[in-house]
């Protein structure tokens, strides 16, 4: 409405100037019309609301790393023949989700308490997920580094806990809730995916009680020394590693949500698109 009003007022002022100065108006006719910045701003606002955004994001691309997994998921969705707004992710209840958000661990002083590479606390700030969106699935992905020396046929168990209450040294013990576990062979590569939906659901319900996730890689009583075997599942950056190298290796949290903006398709529509 405001942009229409602006267009009307703009045209009205044009008419006024037309009657005042005919000569200058003839000159204007030859020049290409430049839209009013206010009208353009209104149009941009309408466009952004169509995309579900309140304002145009102001970002510094040089500081942000686009996870490779997000690029792959985008390529997978755009490469699909069947038209669908749902996110296809095997093993997760993400079929009714139409949005994926990725989160990285936020560094803090607590990180210094974890000296070894097989046990680490990961903190993800999920407060940016709009309250209007419904959480459908949540996934923690951890990258794995191939171990080529020594015993390579070793199994590791990756356990992920939701920290319900942090401990206070000498006063009280922390409370953890095991939410998922996976067994991995250390000679393998790729990523390990863990379902962390209960934890993210709790953080969204109680944002002040988000203490993060505790990830523990259990090597089943193997040597306690910090060797390459214990760094197979990447939880924290090594001192020898550059920031750029770590950016594509770091743990990621994916939140799959539904913004409720899509109409459910009828069987007739689905059959038509399949045909």
């Amino acid at each position: 409405t405001t942009s229409t009003e602006k267009v009307v007022s703009h045209r009205h002022s044009d008419k006024k100037s037309h009657s005042q100065d005919k000569g200058s108006n003839e000159e204007q006719k030859e020049k290409p019309q430049i839209p009013d910045p206010a009208i353009l701003a209104g149009l941009e606002g309408n466009f952004l609301s169509l995309f579900g955004l309140n304002k145009r994001p102001i970002v510094d691309r040089s500081k942000i790393v686009i996870p490779e997994a997000m690029k792959q998921l985008y390529a997978e969705i755009t490469g699909h023949d069947v038209d669908s707004v749902n996110i296809p992710k095997p093993g997760l209840h993400s079929k009714s989700a139409n949005t994926v958000r990725s989160f990285t661990h936020e560094d803090s002083k607590i990180d210094n308490r974890f000296l070894h590479h097989h046990r680490f606390r990961l903190f993800f700030n999920v407060s940016t997920i709009p309250q209007s969106e419904e959480l459908k699935a949540a996934e923690l992905t951890l990258s794995r580094a191939t171990v080529v020396e020594g015993e390579t046929n070793v199994r590791h168990q990756v356990l992920v806990y939701d920290i319900l209450r942090p401990g206070i040294k000498g006063k009280r013990d922390p409370i953890f809730l095991l939410i998922d576990s996976k067994t991995v062979l250390i000679n393998g590569t790729g990523t390990v995916s863990l379902d962390v939906l209960p934890a993210v659901q709790r953080w969204l319900r109680q944002p002040k009680q988000n203490y993060g996730l505790l990830v523990h890689v259990d090597s089943a009583g193997r040597t306690a020394a910090e060797g390459p075997v214990h760094r197979h599942v990447r939880l924290k950056r090594s001192a020898s590693e550059t920031r750029q190298e770590w950016d594509q290796q770091q743990p990621l949290l994916f939140a799959y949500t539904d913004d409720g903006r899509n109409k459910p398709r009828s069987i007739r529509d689905v059959n038509r698109s399949r045909r």
Partner: protein, 117 residues
């Protein structure tokens, strides 16, 4: 023969069909926060719905009747409208206002097919 060819070509352009409409995100200065795709392939439908209607225009029975009436007497009914009959969703990979990477699917954002309705 050349006159007939020219006449045919003109008719072809006037028939209801899908036409290109592309918004390059770099042109509107949105390429800083939209990672992919580089632009928006929206398309639009334009052209006339004239009798007889070809099969590919996916016309409804009502549109055929309306166009037939129009061809007899234009004052009785206007021609059927050339509108999108099939739409597809698009995916966008972008950075939100909190600098978080978001992948979102938007329903009915691009025209796949046009028809007379």
């Amino acid at each position: 023969a050349s006159l007939r060819r020219g006449h045919r070509r003109k008719n072809f352009h006037e028939i209801c069909q899908r036409r290109a409409l592309y918004v390059d995100f770099a042109d509107v200065g949105w390429n800083d926060w939209i990672v992919a795709p580089p632009g928006y392939d929206a398309y639009y439908c334009h052209g006339e719905c004239t009798f007889p209607m070809p099969d590919h225009l996916n016309s409804t029975n009502h549109a055929v009747v309306q166009t037939l009436v129009n061809s007899l007497n234009p004052s009785l009914a206007p021609k059927a409208c050339c509108i999108p009959t099939q739409l597809a969703s698009i995916s966008m990979l972008y950075l939100d206002e909190y600098n978080k990477v978001v992948l979102k699917n938007y329903q009915d954002m691009t025209v796949v097919g046009c028809g007379c309705r």
